[in-house]
């Protein structure tokens, strides 16, 4: 039996593991997140059948803690431990590489792959300089379908701020920021539960990414023979019956 055409929604959590995450129990909150997410995916089989979950953490460098997997099958979930600074460059670069690697594997296995979603969870501002992380962000998110320039597998990116974070910087990481697939930014007040917020996001993502949506239709109401017929029908709408029952 092949996996051909089975739809996969890749979902990555990119988590800040800098030393500041030790304060105020933020690391514990993060480590509680994985089992709660798994519970949510088990509870909702429609979502669980489709989502593959991956975990990256970053500090001065970034690492793949859990490669893209059916989290329902993982018995022992990893625990994150804090270290060093907060390099967004390391995070974005590692995420891009991992998306490419996982895509190649899934594609080779015959899966149909939906647009990747990544949740970027941080409590602080980047420790690398602005030009550097902005360049890494552009390399991860920019794609021009006309010219084929950029990263065609770009993820939808949802920043989640916990604790006393730099909200403006994190908000700038939303991708895409406009249109039908505009992504939110989430900020957790003290004691807020990011696991619950993220778990609630996933079914919404499924609906917006997986379910059918409207393409930009070609014709407007003043073009073409069909449009004329439509206008004529509307003009004579009185007495027109729409049979439903």
């Amino acid at each position: 039996m092949s996996d051909e055409g089975i739809q996969i929604l890749p979902f990555y959590l990119v988590a800040d593991a800098s030393l500041s995450m030790q304060a105020d129990g933020k690391m514990d909150t993060l480590n509680d997140l994985l089992p709660q997410l798994r519970d949510e995916l088990v509870r909702n089989p429609v979502v669980g059948d489709m989502v593959r979950f991956g975990l990256l953490d970053f500090s001065d460098d970034a690492s793949v803690v859990l490669p893209l997997t059916d989290i329902r099958q993982v018995e022992v979930l990893p625990l994150l431990a804090p270290r060093g600074g907060t390099s967004f460059v390391a995070a974005f670069t590692a995420l891009k590489a991992q998306i490419e690697a996982d895509y190649a594997q899934l594609k080779a296995d015959g899966f149909t792959i939906k647009r990747t979603t990544a949740v970027f969870l941080s409590d602080g501002a980047p420790t690398d300089d602005a030009a550097a992380w902005q360049q890494a962000f552009a390399a991860l998110t920019e794609w021009d379908p006309e010219t084929g320039q950029g990263f065609r597998l770009f993820p939808n990116l949802i920043p989640v701020g916990i604790g006393d974070c730099d909200r403006e910087t994190l908000k700038a990481l939303r991708h895409r920021k406009e249109g039908e697939a505009a992504m939110p930014a989430l900020f957790m007040a003290d004691g807020g539960n990011p696991a619950k917020a993220i778990a609630e996001l996933i079914p919404l993502l499924i609906r917006s990414i997986v379910n059918s949506s409207l393409a930009q239709a070609g014709a407007t109401a003043d073009q073409g023979a069909a449009a004329k017929a439509m206008a004529d029908t509307l003009a004579n709408a009185e007495g027109f019956d729409v049979e439903l029952d």
């Binding site: 055409g5 429609v46 792959i113």
Partner: protein, 370 residues
């Protein structure tokens, strides 16, 4: 409340053979079934007033018809209604044409199930013959599609209470793709016939050629895309051009229309799902088996599912085309491209077993047969 005297004494049920071999037609899977396929959910009638499944079946002329529109696991889990719809009608002099309409309400619209129903009822009205009284090749499909779009827009205005709603905003309230088709209910002398297929959006049409090969009539979705998209064109928005396809069918062929809940897993018509559906549908299944098969479990495919199958008789029982006087059945499909009119696109048509089943996809409609 019952009078004990009127209640007959319970009689024991007769014993059954232990191995009464009744195949279970209720549950079908293709490959990994996933977990979502077994979601119960609220009954659809509780959730929103239309049943979980719509099933119809029967014969029209020499065609056998199977129709099923089944709520997907996603809507079962969410306790929302099926947004697909499907219908058939008979039109033309002496019932010469079977009209098929299959619609997929766009899930981004809250009331898209009403758009799907309106499109189906508009194209294949249940209580009066559809407007198709001419040769389908001569029909003005622009007018038909434009009228259906207006019908959806009017309904969206009524439901939203905003009489000035424009099509683009109406489409956010309700929108539906549709595949329409007109299939002759009798074969021409050689045993072939030409169906006309008109798709708007990604509801697809396929020929199951002699029960073995899937030939796409409509464009295969997401072909060549790195990341699969779910965006589609849907009424009340209009396509830039209303395309029509003429499809030549021979004995033993079937024409299948399906919403993306079936079309997506079918893919390009060459994989495991395609092989399984071809085996199930090489000949018309029972109506219940057809509905259960349309509802097949396959991991991650949780959209609403609709399919209408139209089967031609396996053997043509018309007057012998060669005039050899035997009256014997002609047990051979007509060669492709032989019976119908000129190909307006000037192309070669389709070779069996490869490429598209459509002989012509044009914006102007095919030329009349004969």
């Amino acid at each position: 409340m019952s009078d004990p005297d009127l209640v007959p004494a319970a009689a024991p049920l007769p014993a059954l053979e232990p191995a009464a071999e009744q195949p279970d037609a209720g549950v079908y899977s293709i490959g990994d079934r996933g977990m979502a396929a077994d979601v119960e959910g609220l009954p659809a009638l509780v959730a929103g007033g239309q049943p979980d499944a719509l099933v119809d079946a029967g014969a029209v002329g020499d065609l056998v018809v199977r129709l099923a529109s089944v709520r997907g696991a996603g809507h079962r889990y969410d306790a929302t209604v099926r947004q697909d719809d499907a219908g058939v009608a008979v039109a033309g002099p002496d019932g010469s044409w079977l009209v098929v309409a299959v619609a997929d309400g766009v899930s981004a619209g809250r009331l898209s199930h009403l758009a799907a129903r309106a499109v189906v009822r508009g194209a294949a009205p249940p209580r009066r013959p559809p407007r198709c009284r001419r040769d389908p090749a001569e029909l003005d499909w622009d007018e038909i599609i434009g009228t259906l779009a207006a019908q959806v827009l009017l309904l969206a205005r009524r439901e939203s209470g905003d009489e000035a709603l424009e099509a683009r905003d109406a489409a956010r309230v309700m929108a539906s793709t549709v595949a329409l088709a007109v299939v002759p209910t009798a074969a021409e002398a050689g045993g072939a016939r030409t169906a006309t297929v008109v798709p708007v959006g990604d509801t697809s049409a396929w020929v199951l050629r002699a029960g073995t090969t899937w030939e796409p009539v409509t464009a295969v979705k997401n072909a060549g895309e790195a990341v699969a998209s779910s965006a589609t064109i849907a009424l009340p928005l209009l396509p830039t051009e209303v395309a029509t396809a003429a499809v030549v069918l021979g004995p033993g062929d079937a024409l299948l229309f399906m919403t993306e809940g079936v079309g997506d897993p079918l893919g390009d018509g060459t994989g495991e799902v395609a092989a399984t559906l071809a085996a199930w549908w090489a000949a018309p299944p029972s109506r219940w088996a057809f509905a259960a098969q349309v509802d097949f479990g396959r991991r991650s495919h949780t959209d609403d599912r609709s399919a209408v199958g139209v089967w031609l008789p396996p053997v043509h029982r018309g007057s012998p085309a060669t005039g050899d006087g035997t009256g014997a059945a002609v047990d051979a499909p007509a060669p492709p491209g032989a019976p119908a009119g000129a190909d307006p696109a000037g192309g070669d048509g389709a070779a069996p077993g490869g490429g598209s089943a459509a002989r012509a996809v044009t914006g102007d409609g095919p030329e009349p047969a004969r």
